[in-house]
């Protein structure tokens, strides 16, 4: 563990410049450039809002804002987009940088960190945009937002843990990435982002309790929409512990599999 941290520290410049390059390369030569990073999730929110607003608006009691559903959507999307982006990109990470891993000797642990960092920047930009949008929609900011760094931290760690495990598996069985694309879709709809948990029948809602992303989305909605401290601290704590266990496990798996990975790539 100590040498991992030392390696990360000595490669900190590389990690920072890789994150910068990653963001730049993705939007190079597009007219709107980095704006696309936030335009895409915003467009998605707009679509859902357009389609669902009428049906869903009535289900958000106690909020005195006609745009409550849009805010609800944004909150869930901010939680989900970080998770989904990190998982998707870490899944493909080793396959994508196969050439690099074969040719260069560098601490491999830099790769997930670069991905985490790049996704985090994305997410923060989205969050900033959302905050601006909330002000425009008449939703004032609140002190509860101080919880956001904690929530984002847990969300990122949890996503990286899962992503890293899937990334290692995907090197050996490429079907993993294919299956996960479908699973992530399902998972999205099994998380109360577009809808509220309250509209589900009791039986299904009990099952929903086992979805960690439900607790994550609800926490974001608490903070951003209801402007209160996350009420489900226990759920968050469980995800945090799970995230740490997943991260430790994935790092061990990663270290064990590293030599063989390079052979398969």
């Amino acid at each position: 563990m100590k040498e991992i941290l030392a390696a990360i520290w000595s490669y900190r410049h590389f990690i920072v410049s890789s994150i910068k390059n990653d963001l730049r390369a993705r939007f190079a030569r597009s007219k709107l450039g980095a704006l696309w990073m936030i335009l895409q999730p915003l467009a998605q929110v707009a679509i859902y809002a357009l389609v669902m607003a009428r049906i869903m608006a009535a289900k958000l009691p106690g909020i005195d804002n006609r745009y409550a559903y849009v805010i609800y959507l944004m909150a869930g999307m901010i939680a989900w987009s970080l998770f989904a982006e990190v998982v998707t990109r870490s899944m493909a990470m080793f396959v994508d940088s196969g050439n690099l891993m074969k040719k260069m000797a560098f601490p491999r642990v830099c790769l997930p960190i670069i991905i985490g960092g790049s996704c985090l920047v994305n997410n923060l930009l989205l969050l900033l945009t959302a905050a601006g949008l909330f002000l425009v929609l008449g939703q004032p900011l609140s002190l509860a937002m101080l919880w956001l760094p904690v929530l984002i931290g847990i969300n990122l760690a949890f996503a990286l843990g899962i992503g890293l495990i899937l990334g290692v598996l995907n090197v050996f069985v490429r079907d993993v990435a294919q299956v996960m694309t479908v699973v992530l879709q399902l998972w999205f709809w099994f998380t109360p982002i577009v809808y509220m948990a309250s509209i589900l029948p009791d039986g299904l809602r009990a099952v929903l309790e086992f979805n960690p992303m439900m607790h994550m989305a609800v926490a974001f909605q608490d903070v951003l929409l209801y402007r209160r401290i996350p009420h489900d601290i226990l759920g968050l704590g469980i995800i945090a512990v799970a995230a740490i266990i997943l991260l430790l496990f994935s790092l061990t798996l990663f270290r064990r599999a590293s030599p063989e990975m390079v052979d398969v790539l």
Partner: protein, 312 residues
């Protein structure tokens, strides 16, 4: 090395050097050298997608060698560069070698191997087939690329202590080879500029449709100094009967610098030994050139100078 096409050469340099574990300050201190060494001018700040392969290679080599490594591995990459840049690369590699860098070079370029290496390994089909002095290994490589059915490759100890490689299918072979002075006496030592004659006696064992004799004079390191063949000179012999004795006499001035030289002979049917290789004989003859009558000079060629100095 994997350059990102959207980033400029400079940014790619920072990225690649960072990947090699160098800190930003360390890269800052050599970025100027890298830019100067790559010599791609203003393109250094253009996106890498606008680069030609040669330009990419220039930048890549400049980064890879910006800091003197303990071990430098060059895998055939130098073949991409233009010859001007190749010379620069070789110069830098040689400097590194003198400073103690171990060099591992993977190449089909015989010249580069003989020039840079102390030891050569010849690999075929994933197996090591020869490990030794570069000149010997290159001789064997040369024989192997012409290897055919019924063809043999024989490596024996030459009287000079070096390994001699004789290969070929054996339809014709060199029976005797001598270096003669102007009196017709066989010699092993020759003076710079002396007129000599190379006598090669060849015999055939079967009918040969076309016979060409090639010879190559190589220096101590096995680098070719001069070579030609009777195909190039328009003197190929057509339809040679079995059992024919042929004598070639090749007269030339010994315009070589002082040192030890060897002659390789080839009996082939065209201008290359890759079509029919009747016999290829390395180290067929070894001789020494010494400077007895001219002013001191260095190098492997004797180019008689006529220096005039005017002072006013």
């Amino acid at each position: 090395m994997g350059f990102s096409p959207e980033l400029s050469g400079r940014e790619n340099v920072y990225h690649s050097a960072g990947l090699m574990g160098f800190s930003r300050q360390a890269i800052d201190s050599v970025i100027g050298d890298i830019e100067t060494f790559a010599e791609i001018g203003e393109y250094f700040d253009e996106p890498a997608r606008t680069y030609s392969t040669g330009m990419q290679m220039r930048v890549a080599f400049s980064v890879a060698t910006a800091f003197r490594p303990d071990i430098l591995i060059v895998d055939e990459a130098l073949s991409v560069g233009d010859s001007y840049f190749q010379h620069k690369c070789f110069k830098r590699i040689r400097e590194f070698r003198e400073l103690g860098t171990s060099l591992l070079i993977v190449s089909h370029d015989a010249g580069a191997v003989q020039n840079l290496c102390d030891r050569a390994l010849l690999l075929e089909g994933g197996a090591l087939i020869k490990d030794g002095d570069p000149a010997e290994v290159m001789d064997l490589y040369n024989a192997l690329i012409a290897e055919r059915e019924n063809s043999t490759v024989k490596v024996t100890e030459h009287q000079s202590g070096r390994k001699q490689t004789i290969s070929g299918t054996g339809e014709a072979r060199v029976e005797e080879i001598q270096l003669l002075n102007s009196d017709g006496q066989p010699i092993e030592f020759a003076g710079v500029g002396e007129s000599v004659t190379l006598r090669v006696a060849v015999a055939t064992t079967v009918d040969v449709p076309r016979l060409v004799l090639g010879y190559m004079i190589k220096d101590r390191l096995g680098q070719p100094v001069f070579g030609t063949n009777t195909h190039f000179t328009g003197q190929a012999i057509e339809l040679v009967k079995a059992g024919q004795q042929i004598e070639f006499r090749i007269a030339f001035p010994m315009n070589f610098g002082p040192g030890s030289y060897s002659i390789s002979t080839a009996l082939v049917s065209t201008d290359t030994h890759l079509v029919n290789n009747y016999e290829w004989r390395d180290l067929a003859l070894v001789f020494t050139v010494s400077n007895m009558s001219h002013a001191k000079f260095i190098g492997s060629a004797w180019v008689p100078p006529d220096i005039r100095i005017e002072m006013s």
